[in-house]
């Protein structure tokens, strides 16, 4: 039996800055994971990935990352995605420093 589909977000890096971005429901990109579109249907997720990949002038390396719904929008399930949405652990740089 194929493995059950788990919810995803489309994520990539921004072309110019190289930082982590997420696809939103209105086809834009956000730097804030809670604003991302959570994809719960496998076929829809694949379609959204294709649509994201077409935006070659804005992004690099789009892929589907596992996420779960929470009261505050999508949350990562794997530590790699947790680091991507936060920044490095040795310096207060990256996303964690934005707005500080």
């Amino acid at each position: 039996m194929p493995r059950a589909f788990t919810p995803k977000v489309v994520t990539a890096n921004a072309l110019i800055e190289g930082d982590v971005i997420y696809l939103t429901a209105n086809n834009g990109w956000t730097r804030d994971l809670p604003q991302a579109e959570l994809l719960t249907d496998e076929a829809h997720a694949q379609l959204r990935l294709l649509e994201a990949e077409q935006q070659v002038g804005e992004i690099v390396g789009a892929y589907l990352a596992d996420a779960v719904a929470s009261g505050n929008g999508p949350e990562p399930t794997h530590f790699r995605e947790d680091f991507r949405r936060t920044g490095p652990s040795n310096y207060f740089h990256g996303k964690q420093a934005v707005g500080q």
């Binding site: 072309l15 190289g18 690099v60 920044g87 310096y91 740089h93």
Partner: protein
């Protein structure tokens, strides 16, 4: 130091102009990422977890003060005020914007530096003994040879699209400080019984997924034969190396699968073909390069300032005893500046620290700096009378840690804090180990002990050759750390032995503490290093300290 001639400058300016145009075409949408990626990698530009990363080569680890100042300028102007020195004598900037990189490369070009072939399936930055030109045990300065290899390999048309990357290291000393046996190809300058200087060539070493110790391919090559011999070797591998599987593409696998004798026969055959095409131009070039590396004008002066500071200041004395190495000239010392202050990120230097190091090199170091594969900075030529002033200047910028070769002098790759390939973090593990043993005040009692940490199987952190190696993996979605013991990065190179099951992120530091406490109990005297004790006793007694639960279970089972 090598200084670029007009040809070098024109070549670099043209390459940078091309890359600037490539970036413009990518941003304008005229190149896809698939088209652009090999172009940016050719110029050292990676895309990592949080941002782009620019890897700049520091050929054979040698820098002038002007170059170090320029590295500081890049850090301030286009990055976050620091740089990360790597295990292959490169510096990495973790936060550049794509559109700033052409300006960064132009700035580097002003001081004869570049990022060419710091990525891709090419011949990478040629590394060397970081004490080159200064070490007391040296036969000959290996840097002219390294520069010759750099010039030969840069943009070499036959070696731009190989099956995999190819790493070369050179050394001219009795002791191996360049991890020669972990390189695809290594050259060791040797002297034969007749007193003639020649080259020993090793091949097929490498770490990563399948660690292998390099083997001697040729025992003694005359000077003029080396470059065609290297070209023949790379050429043979480039043709028969596997391209069906990237994990089996490195020359270590080719040597392993074909056998050393078969490779030697093929290299000899290829060598016979190409040797006549080397008409001596390379040797004329080599002679010219050698002139660039003339030794500085060493001075002959008394060392009273040093002697009195050594007597009077215990902190200075501790630093001297730990961070200095023997220089070939009386009255001089080789200073290793630690980038491993306990709790800091191994290999990182702020722009202020870089500028201070540049100033020290100008004032007291004959304008020379080196970067070691152990991620420290070396002032290769300091007169002993200047050491108190050097120490004071280093103290001002917190670069005075007295821990070279000790447990906190850890090699660590960037790991999952930056690297897109990593499977776990390395940096915080290194920080916590160093901090813990500093708190325990055990560091100097433990003595020489090398911990090397990699955040994935590719082994940039050299964990296989650490006395204690730590490999971070992703086990079912959780960071997990495997320990290997008994590795050795010197001429007696050895691959460490896996100790047993891995440890979770919050278990790894206590496990290392148990292991090291175990060593302190097991050693026969304070003079017996961790590695020596391990070689004498084997894995079993150390394992008992790492896995006390298993030990308890065994005792219970025996009692029942």
């Amino acid at each position: 130091m090598y200084h670029y001639n007009d040809f070098d400058k024109a070549f670099l300016a043209e390459r940078n102009r091309q890359f600037r145009a490539q970036v413009e075409r990518r941003v304008a949408g005229n190149l896809t990422e698939d088209e652009f990626k090999p172009l940016r990698l050719m110029n050292g530009l990676y895309l990592q977890l949080h941002a782009y990363m620019l890897r700049v080569a520091i050929p054979y680890g040698t820098l002038s003060s002007a170059q170090m100042d320029k590295l500081a300028l890049l850090a301030d102007k286009w990055d976050k005020g620091y740089g990360h020195f790597t295990t292959r004598q490169n510096i990495q900037y973790n936060w550049p914007k794509l559109t700033d990189v052409p300006d960064m490369l132009d700035a580097l070009g002003e001081v004869g530096m570049h990022a060419i072939q710091t990525s891709g399936n090419t011949i990478r930055n040629v590394t060397a003994d970081h004490f080159a030109g200064a070490a007391a045990d040296e036969i000959e300065d290996p840097r002219p040879l390294a520069e010759l290899i750099r010039q030969w390999s840069t943009d070499h048309p036959e070696f731009q699209f190989m099956g995999r990357k190819f790493k070369i290291a050179v050394s001219g000393a009795a002791a191996d400080r360049a991890v020669l046996k972990a390189h695809d190809l290594a050259v060791r300058i040797v002297k034969n019984d007749a007193g003639v200087v020649g080259y020993q060539v090793l091949v097929g070493g490498g770490l990563g997924r399948t660690p292998m110790i390099g083997k001697v391919l040729h025992d003694f090559l005359p000077r003029g034969d080396l470059l065609p011999f290297i070209e023949a070797t790379v050429s043979v591998w480039n043709q028969i190396g596997r391209r069906d599987n990237k994990y089996k593409a490195r020359i270590k696998i080719t040597v392993h699968e074909h056998g050393l004798e078969d490779i030697r026969a093929r290299v000899d055959e290829r060598y016979a073909q190409i040797r006549p095409t080397f008409t001596g131009v390379d040797q004329a070039l080599f002679a010219d390069i050698q002139n660039h590396f003339a030794a500085p004008a060493f001075r002959n002066a008394p060392t009273v300032e040093f002697d009195s500071a050594y007597e009077a200041n215990p902190l200075f004395r501790s630093w001297v005893d730990t961070n200095l190495a023997a220089h070939r000239i009386d009255g001089y010392a080789i200073v290793t500046v630690s980038l491993k202050k306990q709790g800091d990120t191994p290999g990182d230097a702020t722009s202020e620290q870089m500028r201070t190091l540049a100033q020290i090199a100008r004032d007291f170091g004959h304008d020379e700096l080196r970067i070691s594969h152990e991620q420290n900075v070396i002032l290769p030529h300091v007169h002993k009378s200047d050491l108190p002033a050097v120490y004071a200047a280093l103290r001002d910028v917190d670069l005075h840690a007295a821990n070279i070769g000790l447990i906190s002098d850890i090699i660590a790759c960037p790991g999952m804090d930056y690297c897109a390939l990593a499977t776990a973090r390395s940096i915080p593990v290194a920080q916590q180990i160093a901090t813990r043993f500093d708190e325990l005040k055990l560091e100097h009692d433990i003595g020489h002990l090398q911990i090397k940490i990699s955040g994935c199987i590719n082994a940039c952190g050299h964990h296989h050759v650490g006395h204690i190696g730590i490999l971070g993996l992703d086990r079912a979605g959780v960071e997990n750390y495997q320990i290997t013991l008994g590795g050795d990065a010197t001429w007696d190179a050895a691959i460490g032995e896996r100790a047993g099951p891995g440890f979770a992120y919050d278990e790894i530091v206590p496990a290392i503490e148990r292991l090291v406490n175990g060593y302190l109990e097991l050693r026969d005297s304070p003079a017996e290093t961790f590695l020596a004790a391990y070689r004498r006793l084997g894995l079993a007694p150390f394992k008992a300290y790492l896995y006390p639960e298993a030990q308890d279970a065994k005792v219970r089972a025996n009692a029942a």
